[in-house]
Point group: C5
Chain length 323, copies 5
């Protein structure tokens, strides 16, 4: 589905509604002109039309047809093919939902193909259209705007995970509850998220260094800015990964602490009941001469002795903190 | 055993059935001509005939004679020797079955030697024969086609392991069953699989960069595509490895949780029976003046008291979730 | 808020009180002249005024507006933008408190923006003003002085963590107390602190190597000194991280040791009480011919036997160290 | 002790028995001539004689005097000094026995000094003498032959460890036996073996790349072959190391599983005996009106009730798999 | 405190007793002349005098004033500043005691400042004075001699730790004693020792490669020798670190094994006493018709039955190895 398709001349949009593909392809070969085409989960034929109109490379088109690519930047002499993973944190499920954006970026066109619940790019387009001075950078400016949007959208994911980690800390340290399953699934999400963001670092740093020709020096700094944000995300994710490993270990240790505590409680309880039971057995013996069995106060005294012992034991175990 | 042996001219197969080795070797020296020879677990003499006919290097031939090589690409000036590990996932046994493909690739010939349950190459050959424009790339195109097939066949292995990991998660988190053995053997498979695929990355990236002369620029992109797939596989395998480590730890923690639970259940049961037993001992004492032993309602009341205490304890332990 | 703003000529401050921004910007373009402007959490408009007066790059200004940047050094042809994390150890809470200093460093100006509880820079300024020979190095000398101050302030943090690690060792080895939570939170602080200091190493080493033009050779050695201190911090933090991992494991093992000990104690206690209880049951049997029940010394002897057994068991368990 | 000392001319041995050192040293300076001298744990004076005759460097000679060097290759302009660790697996003790070979390799001589139970080099010499075309490569060919022998001898070690790992897997998963000590010592052997083989990789790869002058291109491929084998060994050892870590963790988890099982068994047994004991106490009470005590069938019925309950409990615990 | 101060000409000491600083500084500017000055924990003024006399750089002098530097080599155009950590193993405390040596090495002087219990350098000086051919290398030879001494002194530390590791293995595997604390503190020492030796590798390898001008090629090999020893130390320490991690895990597993054993013992003991206790309760019941209570042999038979059961149970638990 075509989301939008616009022709820009010297940084200014030349028309209101979206162009059709042929007109756009024809417009995308002037000097200060370029076309920005946005597609959302295009059908096979639609993608083929676009590929034919803009002369896209077969391999890149094949990749764009399927989601589940890894983030990458491929250089095809006169154009790039860029794959980005977008991410969104679903707090209720504590899951990261991934989408994908595939970009074909030539000197005079950018074709962005969105798959799944990928970041909305409308905001990026509007922001850029309000900055004609950036848009004059041409297609590279669009590439930057999309990268910037995608990487900025990683921040809430990191924050969401951070929140959940804090909740887990609360859970295991304050509430002494087991959180093994939650920790494990958080870690799984972090590993997946890392896999989605980490491979982006190398191409972003290449863009920052200006390894790719069509990016002018002015824009390079904007790419550096994106690379810097991506690095920050990556460092945070790496830290979270290590934290989650530590939490899992702490959780294990706390289970041991709890077990020690439970065993002590039980033992105390067993001791408290074993002592009077022994006494009862004792006075249940059938010796003929057990003088304490005779008097009337024998039984009440026995009960008192038992009660006193129980209370004393209870206090003792309270004091040594087994109860 | 010779599987197939064909002579291609300008990307077109020149005959139907397989050629014999001498004819093939003679044909493999023209300009746009090359020969594609497929062998399956060749005998020593067969391999020697081929080596003599095509002038293969002794060391490479020695390697090809034995399976259990590590993946590699060796440059012999005028030819390459490539070793690939093929992999297939046997879901019932949760094992990865490995095979090997050894390729001798010269300017005008490709000799592929399959060992064990290696990927069928027939599909690669047929696909390529239907694309004469690729076949015009000569021997390199065949190398690409085989690499592409082998690396594509890694994907189901990763998917199979992924499925089993999800089953294990289900097993330990939903069913609270111990899965130590299964996790361990899955991890062993993942380690082995990693060892089979990882060493391929460096030579594939060298091919992608065009470090080896006879690959033309057009094909380089196809090699880059293969390298990209291999990287994706590698990242997934690395992720699975880390996940399995975490699952083993989570499994250990869950064992602790279960143990705590079991100990609590047992303690509750002990307490529930210890209390009436104490009472029975109490009323079994031989004091002469135990007024409650006299009346007729003494015994039934005692039974009632015991029953009430048992029920109260049971409820109590239910409430604090020890039962 | 402007903290101070001074114009230096040949290393000597030209006036007493702070200058206003316009005068400063005008002064900051001579040969041996430069301006050092210190801001503390400036408002948006204040920062914009400064940016306009000194011609700072939009992206750097945007970064300086928000705290929570990662440490970095960005080169803008004629100037640098440097982000530093400052750290302070709050011993009571066992937490590292972070602040930030953002520096814009041009040939003839240094603008330092402090966020949060960042290191006071007054000391750095006073120290430098007393060394005009260093100040003659111009803006680079100021950059060095600030870096030096910030990195020196890391040392007490490392020392504070070191102290707490020793306390934890004391706690788990001498006092046999569980310290899981404390260890975990110390580790979290160490991970965060590492993330605040580690990214600084690369740009400091670049400064040391003289990768950035406006630093003269004399000052390079001073930057090397700072880099060396930062490396020492980094190595100590890495060591602490590994130590804390080991402590967590040791803590887990000690929990197991304690549990073994507790189980032994309990078992000994159970055994000590079970034996006389058995004897009491034995003599409570209703056989008609139990000769020991008859004589007067029967009961006292039984008590003595029980006491002797209890004492013997107690000694036995003491000897095998179960009690 | 001199093992053998031979003078080769154009790849052909010039005499039968071993030469004495002076004659050998004199012969070792022609064009196609070189000398291969094998020593086994030479005395100090013997080594000094050799050093004087061939002009070996003092530092290398000092190293050769003592075993316990790390594997290395040192370039002394006109000669190399190579240290190799040889390894042999002692299956009964599950230990790797290490020896050492020190080689002085000049343009026209190779002096191999064996320490400890190092690989026999006789086989390497005989194999090479049967391939005069290789021997024409001169001293480098001898270096290759020795390297090849040493690295080939690593394979049985890896295989031996592999077998023991499989035995351990059998032991802990099938036989549920604890294997902590065995796993630990296997891991220790693997770590030591890794330390013996890993440092060899870098110099072997340097030889492969032809970083050292006197190796001709033809032989380089043979060195590449050795390097490839060494890499395979290294990858296998690394895999074994990781496996052993996982086994230790699996072993720990299985201990937990067993403990849960043992605790359940015990609890079941306690419950089975506690119930009839309670009943016995009950009917041992001294209430005057306990009608069931009167009739003759009272006692047999009580016994039946107890037996029924014991059997019912036993079946119950069998069904929930606690027994 | 000045330990010694000597002027060497062409490798020969020019006088007996120590020179004073001014004379030494004056002598240290000829061609084949150089001065070797040894200081031990010099006072501030003493160090300043030396700095002034030899023109040492302020930053290096500041470092030399304080111990607790990290190992490093800093190049000051015409001189080096080298920091070394010396180490000594205190076997009784199982601790590594660190000292420091700071060297200022110029073309014609070496000033060695020792801090704490650093290696005695007298031996290095005497050894060198007996080898005038080495001393002719000038100041570099002294640097080498000191480096060599310091690195050689690491070997006993590694050996001491090795011994203690073997003791710990003995302790936990043979004696089944818990060694958590000992393992932990050994690991802490190993981590600290690693931090003291590891940073030395890079500068030593730079010296080995001849990255620093004033070292002649002859001496380079001696530096390579030192670097090689340092690498060996480093590999051993790394191995010990990994071993200690494994021991801690093995220790944990053994605790689990012991716990299982203890629990089984206890359970067996409980069972052995519970069965006769049950029988005693049984025969303590008050049924009127319990024929076995009547006869004279009733009681002795009961005792026999109990004894037989106890023995049978004991044997049973012995056989299944619970006792």
């Amino acid at each position: 589905m075509i989301v939008d398709c616009a022709h820009y001349h010297e940084g200014v949009r030349q028309h209101k509604g979206p162009l059709d593909i042929e007109t756009a392809a024809a417009a995308a070969n002037g000097d200060g002109d370029f076309v920005w085409l946005g597609l959302h989960e295009p059908g096979a034929s639609e993608l083929e039309d676009v590929a034919a109109a803009f002369g896209l490379h077969e391999l890149a088109v094949e990749d764009a047809r399927n989601a589940h690519q890894r983030p990458k930047l491929e250089d095809y002499d006169d154009s790039f093919f860029i794959v980005l993973k977008t991410a969104r944190y679903i707090d209720e499920k504590e899951e990261v939902e991934f989408g994908e954006i595939h970009m074909f970026a030539g000197r005079s066109y950018v074709i962005a193909v969105r798959h799944g619940a990928a970041s909305e790019l409308r905001a990026a387009r509007q922001r850029l259209e309000q900055h004609p001075e950036l848009l004059q950078g041409g297609a590279s400016a669009v590439v930057w705007a999309i990268l910037d949007k995608v990487v900025d959208d990683y921040a809430p994911v990191v924050a969401g995970i951070e929140d959940d980690i804090e909740e887990v800390e609360q859970q295991i340290f304050q509430e002494s509850a087991d959180a093994t399953e939650r920790i494990y699934f958080l870690k799984r999400e972090v590993i997946q998220f890392h896999r989605a963001t980490f491979p982006l670092l190398a191409p972003l740093e290449a863009l920052e260094r200006g390894a790719y020709a069509p990016v002018d020096e002015q824009l390079q700094r904007y790419f550096r800015d994106v690379a810097d944000h991506a690095r920050r995300i990556d460092e945070q994710v790496t830290g979270q990964r290590e934290l989650l490993t530590s939490i899992l270990e702490a959780n294990l240790a706390l289970l041991g602490v709890q077990q020690n505590q439970v065993i002590r409680q039980i033992s105390a309880a067993v001791a408290i009941i074993a002592v009077p039971t022994f006494l009862a057995s004792l006075w249940g013996m059938n010796f003929e001469h057990m003088p304490e069995l005779r008097p009337e106060w024998g039984y009440p005294l026995a009960l008192v002795v038992m009660a006193v012992l129980v209370i004393a034991l209870y206090r003792f175990f309270k004091r040594i903190r087994w109860l």
